[in-house]
C-alpha cells in the first residue's frame, strides 16, 4: 500500500522532470537562437564568443545573473514582490502537463486539456500584475496595468479561435484535437483563425509588436524594472517558456501536432516527437522574425485591434464555421 503510493509519486516526479528539464534547456537555446536570428536580420554577428558559435552564451548569462546581488526595494511589498516571479515561472511550466508530444507522450491526458491550457495562460497575468503592484514604483505599475488590460482583451479572441477548432473536433482533449487533423491540418480550412491565433499569442506572451508592458522606450523595463538577479531570471525564463508553450498550443490546434504533413512512406517513419519539435521551432522562428520586422504598436492601436477587429471577426467565423458544419452535416459525432 505505502510502496504503491511511493512508486506512483516517484513516477509522477520522473514524468514532470522529463518534461520540465527539456523545456528549460530549450529556453536557453531559444534565447541564443533569438539573439542569433535578430543579429542576422540586422546584419550583425550576434553572440559568438562563449563556446563554439557562442552556443553557451545563455548559460554564461544565467550564471552571471544568478550570482549577482538580489535587490529588494525597501518600499516594496516584500512577500508579493518575491512571489510574483515564482508565480510567473510556475505557471509557464504548469501548462506543459497536458501537451501531447507524440501519441501517448503526455503527463496528464485530461478530457478538458485545451481548457486547462487556456486557464493556465490566462493566469499568467497575475505574475505581472503582482510584480507591478508590489514594486511600489510608477513604471512597473503602468506596465502592470497595461498588461492586465492587454491580456484580458486578447484572451477573448483566443477563446473564440479555440471554440472554432473545437467545433471541428468535437472534443476538448488535446490528443483528439491532433488526431482530428489526420486528413487536413486545421491551418488550411481555418487559415484566418490561425493568423488571429498567432497574433493573439504574440499579445498574450507580451512579445513584440505588443510588448507594451515592458516597453523600454517609455517604461524603462515595464513591470520588472525593480527586479534583479535570480528573480529577474525567473521572469525571463517564464516569458520564454510561455512563448514555447503558446507555440506548442498553435502547433496542436492548427499544424497537426505530431502528425507528418503527408501520410506517405519517408515522412511517416519519422517519430512524432521530431515533427512536433520541428513545427514548434518553425512557430518560434515566426515569433523572432516578427520581433525583428515590426515596430511596436501604440497602446490604443493594440486595444482597437483586439476589440474592434479580432473580436467581431472571430465571432463571425465561429458562426460561419458552425453554420457550415451543420448545413453540410459534418459535425463530429
Amino acid at each position: 500500500m505505502t510502496y504503491d503510493i511511493l512508486i506512483t509519486g516517484l513516477i509522477i516526479i520522473a514524468q514532470i522532470l522529463a518534461v520540465v528539464v527539456p523545456v528549460l534547456i530549450s529556453v536557453a537555446f531559444l534565447v541564443y537562437a533569438e539573439r542569433k536570428v535578430l543579429a542576422l536580420i540586422q546584419l550583425r554577428r550576434g553572440p559568438n564568443i562563449v563556446g563554439p558559435f557562442g552556443i553557451l552564451q545563455s548559460f554564461a548569462d544565467a550564471l552571471k545573473l544568478i550570482t549577482k546581488e538580489n535587490i529588494i526595494p525597501s518600499g516594496s511589498n516584500k512577500i508579493v514582490f518575491i512571489l510574483a516571479p515564482i508565480i510567473t515561472m510556475v505557471l509557464s511550466l504548469a501548462g506543459w502537463a497536458v501537451i501531447p508530444f507524440a501519441p501517448g507522450w503526455v503527463v496528464s491526458d485530461i478530457n478538458v486539456g485545451i481548457m486547462y491550457l487556456f486557464a493556465v495562460s490566462s493566469l499568467g497575468v497575475y505574475g505581472i500584475i503582482m510584480a507591478g503592484w508590489a514594486s511600489n514604483s510608477q513604471y512597473p505599475f503602468l506596465g502592470a496595468l497595461r498588461s492586465a488590460a492587454q491580456m484580458v482583451s486578447y484572451e477573448v479572441s483566443i477563446g473564440f479561435v479555440i471554440i472554432t477548432v473545437l467545433l471541428c473536433v468535437g472534443s476538448l482533449n488535446l490528443s483528439k484535437i491532433v488526431l482530428a487533423q489526420q486528413t487536413v491540418w486545421f491551418a488550411i480550412p481555418l487559415l484566418p483563425m490561425f493568423i488571429i491565433f498567432f497574433i493573439s499569442a504574440l499579445a498574450e506572451t507580451n512579445r513584440l509588436p505588443f510588448d507594451l508592458p515592458e516597453d523600454e522606450s517609455t517604461l524603462v523595463a515595464g513591470f520588472f524594472t525593480e527586479y534583479s538577479s535570480a528573480s529577474f531570471v525567473l521572469f525571463f525564463l517564464g516569458e520564454y517558456a510561455s512563448m514555447i508553450l503558446m507555440s506548442s498550443m498553435t502547433v496542436i490546434l492548427f499544424l497537426g501536432g505530431w502528425l507528418p504533413p503527408f501520410d506517405v512512406y519517408p515522412l511517416n517513419v519519422v517519430p512524432g516527437v521530431i515533427w512536433f519539435t520541428v513545427k514548434v521551432i518553425f512557430i518560434l522562428f515566426l515569433f523572432i522574425w516578427v520581433r525583428g520586422t515590426f515596430p511596436r504598436y501604440r497602446y490604443d492601436q493594440l486595444m482597437r485591434l483586439g476589440w474592434k477587429v479580432f473580436l467581431p471577426f472571430s465571432l463571425f467565423w465561429v458562426v460561419a464555421t458552425s453554420g457550415f458544419l451543420v448545413y453540410f452535416d459534418m459535425l463530429p459525432n
Binding site: 500500500m1 503510493i5 478538458v112 490566462s122 497575468v125 500584475i129 496595468l145 484580458v152
Partner: protein
C-alpha cells in the same frame, strides 16, 4: 484513496483559510489575492468531484478575467483604511445576521437532504469516471431541458452590459479622438510640405 483524501483536505483547508484571510487581511490587494487563491482551490475541489469542465470554467472566468479586473480596480483605488474600519462595529450586527441565516440554511439543507446519494455514499472522494465527458453532459442538458432558462440568462447579462455601458459612457464635448482610417491613409505628400525658403527670411 489516501492520495485523494489528502488532496481533498489540502484543497479544502487552503480554501477555507484563504477565505478567512479575505475578510481579515488589512491590505485590500492582499484580500483580492487570497480570494484568487480560494477560487483556485475551489476549482481543485471541482476536479476531485470529477467536474473538470466546471473547474476550468471557474479558473478561466473568475480567476482569469473577473478577479483581474477586480484587482485592477482595487489597486487603482486610493482607499483610506482608517475610515474604512470606522464603520466596522456599526455594520457588525447586520453582517452577523446574514452569516447566521446562511449557516442555518446550510444546516437545514444538510439535515433534510440525507436521502440524496451524496451524503449516503460512503466511498471516499474520487473522480467519477463516466462514459460521457461531463462537457458533453452539460451541453446535452443545457441546450435541451434548460434552453429557455439559458437564453434568459443570456438576455439578463446583455441587459447588465448595456446598462453599465450607458451609465459610464458620457459624450463630453471637446474630446479628441483617434481616427484610425485617416491615420492609416496618410502618405508622405499629405504629411510633408516642401517649401523654398529665401535666405535670411524664414517662412
Amino acid at each position: 484513496m489516501v492520495l485523494y483524501s489528502l488532496t481533498f483536505y489540502l484543497f479544502s483547508s487552503v480554501a477555507v483559510l484563504s477565505a478567512l484571510m479575505v475578510i481579515s487581511a488589512k491590505n485590500p490587494v492582499h484580500s483580492v489575492l487570497f480570494l484568487i487563491l480560494s477560487f483556485v482551490n475551489a476549482s481543485g475541489l471541482f476536479v476531485l468531484l470529477g467536474a473538470e469542465f466546471l473547474a476550468m470554467i471557474l479558473v478561466v472566468v473568475y480567476v482569469g478575467a473577473v478577479a483581474v479586473l477586480f484587482l485592477f480596480v482595487v489597486m487603482m483605488l486610493d482607499i483610506n483604511f482608517v475610515k474604512l474600519r470606522e464603520g466596522f462595529l456599526q455594520y457588525l450586527p447586520f453582517g452577523a445576521l446574514l452569516g447566521i441565516v446562511l449557516v442555518i440554511e446550510l444546516g437545514i439543507l444538510f439535515l433534510t437532504d440525507r436521502s440524496s446519494n451524496i451524503y449516503n455514499n460512503q466511498t471516499p472522494l474520487q473522480p467519477i469516471v463516466n462514459e460521457v465527458e461531463n462537457t458533453k453532459m452539460i451541453g446535452q442538458i443545457l441546450y435541451t431541458e434548460y434552453f429557455y432558462l439559458f437564453q434568459i440568462c443570456g438576455i439578463i447579462l446583455l441587459v447588465a452590459m448595456i446598462g453599465s455601458i450607458t451609465l459610464t459612457l458620457r459624450d463630453k464635448g471637446g474630446v479628441k479622438r483617434q481616427n484610425i482610417d485617416s491615420q492609416n491613409t496618410v502618405d508622405a505628400s499629405a504629411a510633408i510640405e516642401k517649401k523654398k525658403v529665401k535666405l535670411g527670411e524664414g517662412i
